[in-house]
Symmetry: C2
Subunit: 229 residues, 2 copies
Amino acid sequence: MPYTYLYPRPALTVDCVVFGLDDEDLKVILIQRDLPPFSGQWALPGGFVRLEETLDAAARRELQEETGLEDVFLEQFYAFGNLDRDPRERVVSVAYYGLVNLRNYRVQATTDARDAAWFPVQQLPNLPFDHNQIVAMAHDRLRTKVRYEPIGFELLPKKFTLTQLQTLYEKVLGQRLDKRNFRKKILKMHLLIELDELEQNVPHRAARLYQFDQQKYHHLKQSGFNFEL
Amino acid sequence: MPYTYLYPRPALTVDCVVFGLDDEDLKVILIQRDLPPFSGQWALPGGFVRLEETLDAAARRELQEETGLEDVFLEQFYAFGNLDRDPRERVVSVAYYGLVNLRNYRVQATTDARDAAWFPVQQLPNLPFDHNQIVAMAHDRLRTKVRYEPIGFELLPKKFTLTQLQTLYEKVLGQRLDKRNFRKKILKMHLLIELDELEQNVPHRAARLYQFDQQKYHHLKQSGFNFEL
DNA sequence: TCAAAAGTGTTGATATTACACCCATGC
DNA sequence: GCATGGGTGTAATATCAACACTTTTGA
């Protein structure tokens, strides 16, 4: 019970800003807090770091426990350490952003989780602590990073159409792109594997499916190649 | 004296990787530890975060106390949380990279500081804890960031020549650049103020001095401009 | 007058932008 | 047969890479 130290220590937590994309919007998953402070309010999934787990492990564990999401692309992006960010006491939080493909996860998330829900990034409720600031910074990081690393694919199913890929970029970057130029540019990198499969169950001509070539990307990256869109 | 908590807490520290540039090399400042563990060894400046200070404040304070460096450009880049990074107990460290102009600071650093010294990045001693990894990641971040944000100027005096600017980029990026193309590209951004002053005391034709236009950069950035080199 | 670095333009290759129509499919 | 999105090329412009000589200055 008693954990005693010579000097006072801040508490240490992790928080996760997980983005998902569906047909409408870029969304963020929030949980409804069941403990004070701010119980009942929507907030970012997260919690205290245990002594015997790394920061990454803590982020994954909390995300799984609170939202049911597993095997998510997660990357640490900033440690928040303002003095008054938590009303109880000094708490420093290491923040992660994550990316999931909502077409696969949507159902699971609501089954496994207690009170988790996806909110459009543009219409988030007011969040407790400094969570609004954390989301803003995560969103910013996503916008920046998506342009020079191929992380956007994490928001899509393994097999996707070029139009899906394009609308992903349009939604994350917040601007329209030219179809022909986009296709030229992305195909010229030779990082997409053209599959012998088509979209299913669409009420119009079915589009060809593609897959991102992770291996090839890692090879090229090693030899100095830079993804850039 | 006893600070007691319901659950165990990791200790929280900050560490600083401060880069400086002189005529030879890109360098990093290290301090000689006078307390265990690893006393006597060269290590990154850093130390425990106090309850009543932000992370940024802690980084600045430790850097000042241990090296004498003040008013340094400092930016947080990653939190290190491996379980065994400190032999004593679980310690999570928030790491910062910093940039200073060695022509101004070199003297001060050795007067104010106890046992601080600048080491070429390419020839660092073996460092304790995970400090080698921290330096590697800071270096990587610097290389990446210097290309799309005008932070390189922090490594130069306020007034500098285009050649100094170019060799800065050559040393940080580790590649030679074409003089004419470099000058064209950097001048076309219109972010440099051409001064009516020349270099002094050089044994050859004196070069014109320039100054980075912070204000203009912030304006342009607001309106969507992206620095890129 | 020599050594050392400053300063300066052109050209060919490559990349970027803007733009519109026909095609395949399901209903 | 019609509505819906899939798929494709070209020309004008801007950017990038390669490349060498003259100028200024101090010693």
